[in-house]
Amino acid sequence: MKYVLMFCDTPALYDEVDPADAKATYQEVFDWFGEHHAAGRIADGGAELQPVTTATTVKSGGDGPVVVDGPFSEAKEVVGGFTVVDVPDLDAALAMARTWPPLKYPGVSVEVRPSVDHSGDM
């Protein structure tokens, strides 16, 4: 089954983390991908996103789409990246999410959502 892992954090977080520590975590993230890729669990590497300050949102409006500065929601937590994994069940996906290295920092979370399976569609 395919799941999308959405890696979320708070924009303020990386101002607070010591740069050496951040670098080490980045290496851990790299290793995390390496390990799961080798095990055949990564269906699509996904993407790491630029900071939320770079986000532009197109919203529906009465007179057609409107372009606005900023992310789609006012939430404190923002999506910082995502990857698609292919594992047998939710427990396996949760086991991967649980070991996401940045979870040691406050405010970090990983949302796990099954992706829609279109293989049975006509």
């Binding site: 089954m1 799941y3 069940d89 939710l90 427990d91 949760l94 959502r113 099954p114």
Partner: protein
């Protein structure tokens, strides 16, 4: 139908329903179809058995009915042709599924998965594993049948769509997931523990169901001391059941219970279960709560209770479970050892976290009353009264306010 016959009916269904859900699920590969088919069979059984009596082989009866219902549900879906074939064979042979007893545990772990909301875990476990009908569960939780049905539909949809496995958890997750399962049985017991027999003919005794469930888990996982701990705890509590309600249906607090009416045989049984748990030297919150309940059970009177021992056990319990409710319960022991003033000082800081919990206000009221602060005690009891819908608890609180 007499209460005994009703209890026999409930027990017959309970003994079979979970296994049949598990085996049907294995057979048809669709949890929703399997679960709905058994639910329909349970509803049919309740109707038919109440008039005709319980059949000689209730398990076979339920299984045939459930398989027939599953067939009906699957007929409309062509992609289940293979499953249909297997089902037809199954009905022709009418055989019991192999290792049926073990089947229920993976189902139970799936229904209590942390990816489901706690109330959904409770409802789904009661329906799929224990074999209650939606109507019975709705009455037990004082919600409408429609609300409960929606809760179950949503939970099942999540199980299927999110790929929640109905299997035993991986060894590294076992302890945590077992705690989730035991918590569901514990909540189920508490839900039943504060209620007397319902007005409705086939209302279920949830405390009885929870005790059965705790027994099932403890028997299946004999090397898990916390499973034994929960079984011991619920057995101790259940032993006090005959003394817990006055004739008018109001709750009788521990202090005033007629200890002669406690079930000594059950207390001995609970003691033995707890000993077996303790022999494994891996203490946990349910074993410690059971030890506390055991102290109460062995005391000849409220005054003669070994409160110091209970306080020591609460301090150990805090290391495993520092929740505000545990700290509130500990204050009751503090009141007996160090006096109500000190207990009240321990209780007050919990106000923010427990403001919506009726027993916080009721405990506070009892302490204030001991300290002769009547007006504040009445205010706290009134707050507790406003927060509980349970008739037995309401009767007790009203009597206290009138007294």
């Amino acid at each position: 139908m007499s209460p005994t016959a009703d209890a026999a009916l409930a027990a017959a269904i309970r003994a079979e329903a979970g296994s049949i859900v598990a085996s049907l699920h294995r057979l048809v590969g669709d949890f929703d179809v399997a679960e709905e088919a058994v639910q329909d069979a349970v509803v049919e059984a309740l109707r038919s058995w109440r008039t005709d009596g319980i059949p000689d082989r209730p398990g076979a009866w339920l299984q045939v009915a459930a398989r027939r219902n599953a067939l009906d549900r699957l007929r409309s879906r062509q992609r289940y042709e293979k499953a249909l074939g297997r089902l037809r064979e199954g009905i022709a042979r009418e055989s019991a599924p192999p290792d049926a007893a073990d089947d229920r545990l993976p189902l139970l772990f799936g229904c209590c998965h942390p990816a489901l909301a706690v109330e959904a875990r409770l409802a789904l476990t009661l329906r799929a594993v224990v074999g209650l009908t939606t109507a019975q569960i709705a009455r037990a939780f004082l919600v409408s049948e429609q609300t409960l049905a929606q809760r179950i539909v949503r939970a099942k949809r999540k199980i299927v769509d999110a790929g929640i496995p109905l299997t035993m958890p991986a060894p590294e997750d076992r302890a945590e997931r077992l705690d989730d399962v035991l918590t569901v049985a514990y909540l189920m017991f508490n839900e039943g523990f504060v209620s007397t027999a319902g007005e409705h003919g086939d209302d279920r005794d949830l405390a009885d169901d929870a005790l059965w469930l705790a027994g099932l888990v403890a028997t299946s996982l004999p090397d898990e001391p916390e499973a034994l701990g929960l079984l011991a705890l619920l057995t101790f509590q259940h032993a006090r059941q005959p003394a817990r309600f006055a004739d008018d249906g109001s709750l009788v607090l521990l202090e005033r219970q007629d200890r002669g009416r406690w079930d000594r045989a059950l207390i001995d049984q609970a003691d033995r279960v707890l000993e077996r748990a303790a022999g494994q030297h891996r203490p946990g919150r349910f074993q410690l709560q059971a030890a506390i309940a055991g102290c109460h059970a062995s005391a000849g009177s409220f005054e003669g209770t070994d409160w110091l021992q209970i306080l020591v056990l609460y301090d150990m319990l805090l290391a495993h479970d520092a929740s505000p409710v545990t700290r509130l319960n500990r204050a009751v022991a503090v009141a007996r050892v160090w006096g109500p003033g000190r207990a009240l000082a321990d209780v007050e800081p919990l106000a923010d976290e427990l403001d919506g919990y009726h027993l916080f206000h009721a405990t506070r009221a009892a302490l204030l009353r001991e300290l002769d602060r009547r007006t504040e005690a009445d205010e706290a009891d009134a707050r507790a009264l406003a927060l509980t819908h349970n008739p037995a608890e309401r009767n007790l609180l009203r009597a206290r306010l009138d007294g």
